[in-house]
């Protein structure tokens, strides 16, 4: 294939994706399109404009945006299980961090002999601990494809085993939330141990390059941001397809009346397990993208507090709507960046107050606020003409995505 053909097929693919985004009654995809556009503009502004231009976007902002998008993806993952299936996971940070560690291990192996101790085989922290050889679970992590496969496989498998055990025993509600919390806490304690071979409390850091590209270079940063934005859009489309399929309707049915669904012949535990695994995989991808952009992964990512924060993002944005989760993550994290710069000690209080305020005043989050003002006009025909709602409105209500 020639270069021209390549670009043409690429454009056709992008156009196809955009056409899919632009379905009638799908206002939610607007947010993702805007987000993607902003990302593109930011990237162009960073790379093409001179540093003294008014419109120049600093590399710091690029990385910050990339970080936000990773969080948005993570929030979407939590929303899929919490908003659509009623599984309140307070441990999704674990899947995010495991994905991040997978990427981190690959990046560690790329350092080679450029580390402080100059050991070509062992990462610095292993030299420091007087280890003589690489632990078996680090084998193969110098290959990008293998590391990425592991970064997906391990969280996926963990989610499957955990979900299978929990949902098959019909553990629900607050008990399940506590178990997820315990899961991430246990992993945090384990990863803090030096003997685990993941760098203990320092974690993995001091990365040099990814696939041969310098991680400090502007071009790499921009590329990482664009990849993150593209994968976020992809995850959004995939998640939307899932929640709008019959699978998605079954999942909502399970949320509202699990016994009814079971007596209709659905094996509700299987639906929950697979949804949980899908959600864990999305969280893992978010973690994989997060690590090269922030340059570090440590056991703090497993902390229960982190996982609870994700739930707050989703609650603020509006659970049960994918775009709500994305918007919530972006807004809260932007507020966090601003707040922690101005009043570092006040952030947790602000976060707590925000959560309380949203729970009391906006039970459906910001998305609920939008829907309320949006459906005021659309609700009218429903009252005049009982039952005959235009298909678009009915579908928007039913999918809520």
């Amino acid at each position: 294939m020639t270069f021209a053909e390549n670009t043409r097929s690429l454009f056709a693919g992008v156009a196809g994706a955009l056409a899919q985004l632009h379905q009638p009654g799908r206002g939610s995809s607007l947010l993702v399109v805007i987000l993607f556009g902003v990302t593109l503009l930011m990237s162009a502004a960073n790379l093409m404009l001179p540093q003294d231009s008014v419109f120049y976007v600093s590399t710091y902002s690029i990385t910050l945006m990339g970080k936000y998008l990773c969080f948005a993806m993570l929030a979407m993952a939590v929303d899929i299980v919490w908003g659509y299936c009623g599984i309140l996971s307070l441990g999704h940070g674990a899947f995010f961090a495991l994905g991040g560690y997978g990427m981190g291990m690959y990046l560690m192996r790329q350092i080679g002999d450029r580390g402080v101790y100059g050991n070509p085989e062992l990462p610095d922290f292993m030299v420091f601990l007087n280890w003589q050889e690489l632990p078996w679970y680090w084998y193969g992590m110098e290959h990008f494809w293998f590391a990425m496969a592991m970064a997906l496989l391990v969280p996926g498998l963990l989610a499957f085993v955990f979900g299978w055990l929990a949902f098959r025993s019909r553990v629900t509600g607050v008990f399940l939330s506590i178990m997820t919390q315990a899961l991430t806490y246990a992993l945090m304690l384990a990863f803090f141990r030096n003997e685990m071979g993941f760098g203990g409390n320092n974690g993995l850091t001091d990365f040099k390059d990814i696939l041969g590209f310098d991680l400090q270079a502007d071009g790499t940063r921009v590329a990482l941001l664009l990849i993150t934005a593209a994968l976020l859009a992809l995850a959004f489309l995939a998640s939307r397809a899932i929640v709008q399929s019959r699978f998605g309707r079954v999942v909502v049915a399970v949320r509202d009346a699990e016994a009814r669904a079971r007596f209709l012949g659905y094996r509700t535990e299987r639906y929950k397990v697979w949804l949980f695994v899908y959600s864990a995989l999305v969280a893992a991808v978010a973690g994989m993208l997060y690590v090269p952009q922030v340059g570090i992964i440590n056991p703090g990512e497993f902390s229960p507090l982190n996982s609870i924060e994700i739930v707050v993002w989703v609650a603020v944005g509006g659970r049960g709507t994918l775009y709500g989760a994305i918007a919530g993550a972006l807004l809260v994290n932007y507020a966090k960046t601003r707040f922690t710069a101005a009043m570092p000690d006040g952030w947790l209080f602000a976060l707590g107050a925000l959560f309380v305020a949203v729970t009391v005043l906006l039970p459906k989050g910001l998305a609920g606020l939008l829907q309320r003002s949006g459906t005021k006009g659309a609700e009218k025909p429903r009252e005049n003409d009982t039952g005959k709602v235009p298909a678009g409105v009915a579908h928007a209500g039913e999918a809520g995505a």
Binding site: I242, A253, A257, A261, T386, G387, G397
Partner: protein, 277 residues
């Protein structure tokens, strides 16, 4: 001990190993009986909910179960639908399906539909989607991802919508329906799966007289094609639909027969109807 018993069970020559029996198969009603309940006992923490209960229901019959609170009506339904495990006894669906060997989802797929006492529908979905989710056929995770309605399935949903009188409300959210409409929707959800046996727990609770009358018509029209077992407290309602009535008392069958026979049965008068009549 337990292992020895299991091994003996495994080596029985008069049965087929469970894993060799196809999980989904048609129910065999060549003896005209669709439900055999024999010697069923269930106890919860010492409370004997079902006590050596025997019940046979013919194919195509409309049977009413009555009995005071705690007589075991709902527990019986729980055992038939696989929700509750029994201590002893047997429950067979037709001649060939052992209900005790299946779980809720499998039993539902075998063709036993159940309506709960409290109307339970998927409130966040439209009436149409409620029926769509209740269609018989593949309930697997992967098939649900790509499932699309066929024309034939749409027609079936439309027919059921007509039957339950909700054709005009098809795009309404189920949560916005009235109490009586929810009851009908739930019955419709059972119908659209085309079950052989319908277990209906208190269908007219909370309904107006007119709604109850329409429900009675609906249920009597279902008998014949389906087998229907109705649990109900409302004696007027039972009288209006029932051909055969079974009275439960303290976990076992007290009397069985037509409404008049049952009402004149001295035992029944003493323990149940006597109080009210």
């Amino acid at each position: 001990m337990k292992i020895a018993a299991q091994a003996r069970e495994l080596l029985r020559r008069d049965t087929t190993w469970p894993f060799l029996v196809p999980r989904r198969r048609a129910v065999d009603v060549s003896h005209q009986v669709i439900l055999y309940i024999e010697g069923l006992s269930v106890s919860f923490d010492g409370f004997q909910a079902l006590n050596d209960l025997n019940l046979y229901v013919n194919d195509g019959e409309l049977r009413c179960l009555i009995g005071a609170n705690g007589a075991g009506k709902t527990t019986l339904m729980d055992v038939i639908t696989g929700k509750t495990r029994c201590d002893s006894g047997s429950a067979w669906f037709g001649r060939n399906i052992d209900l005790l060997a299946h779980d809720e989802a499998e039993i539902a797929q075998l063709g036993i539909g159940r309506k709960f006492q409290k109307p339970t529908v998927f409130e966040a979905h439209t009436v149409f989607a409620n029926l769509e989710l209740s269609l018989g056929g593949g309930k697997g995770v992967w098939s649900a991802l790509t499932a699309a309605l066929t024309g034939e399935q749409r027609d079936r949903i439309d027919r059921v919508l007509e039957t339950i009188g909700l054709a005009k409300a098809r795009h309404q959210l189920a949560g916005a329906l009235s109490h009586g409409q929810k009851q009908w929707l739930e019955i419709g959800m059972l119908l659209v799966a085309e079950p052989r046996l319908l277990l209906i727990d208190e269908p007219v609770a909370g309904m107006t007289a007119e709604e109850a009358e329409r429900t009675a018509e609906l249920l009597t029209s279902l008998a014949g094609e389906h087998t229907v077992i109705v649990v109900e407290h409302d004696m007027e309602f039972v009288r209006s639909i029932a051909r055969t009535v079974t009275v439960l008392h303290q976990g076992s069958v007290l009397a069985e027969g037509t409404m008049d026979q049952v009402q004149n049965n001295p035992d029944v008068i003493e323990v149940y109807l006597g109080e009210g009549a």
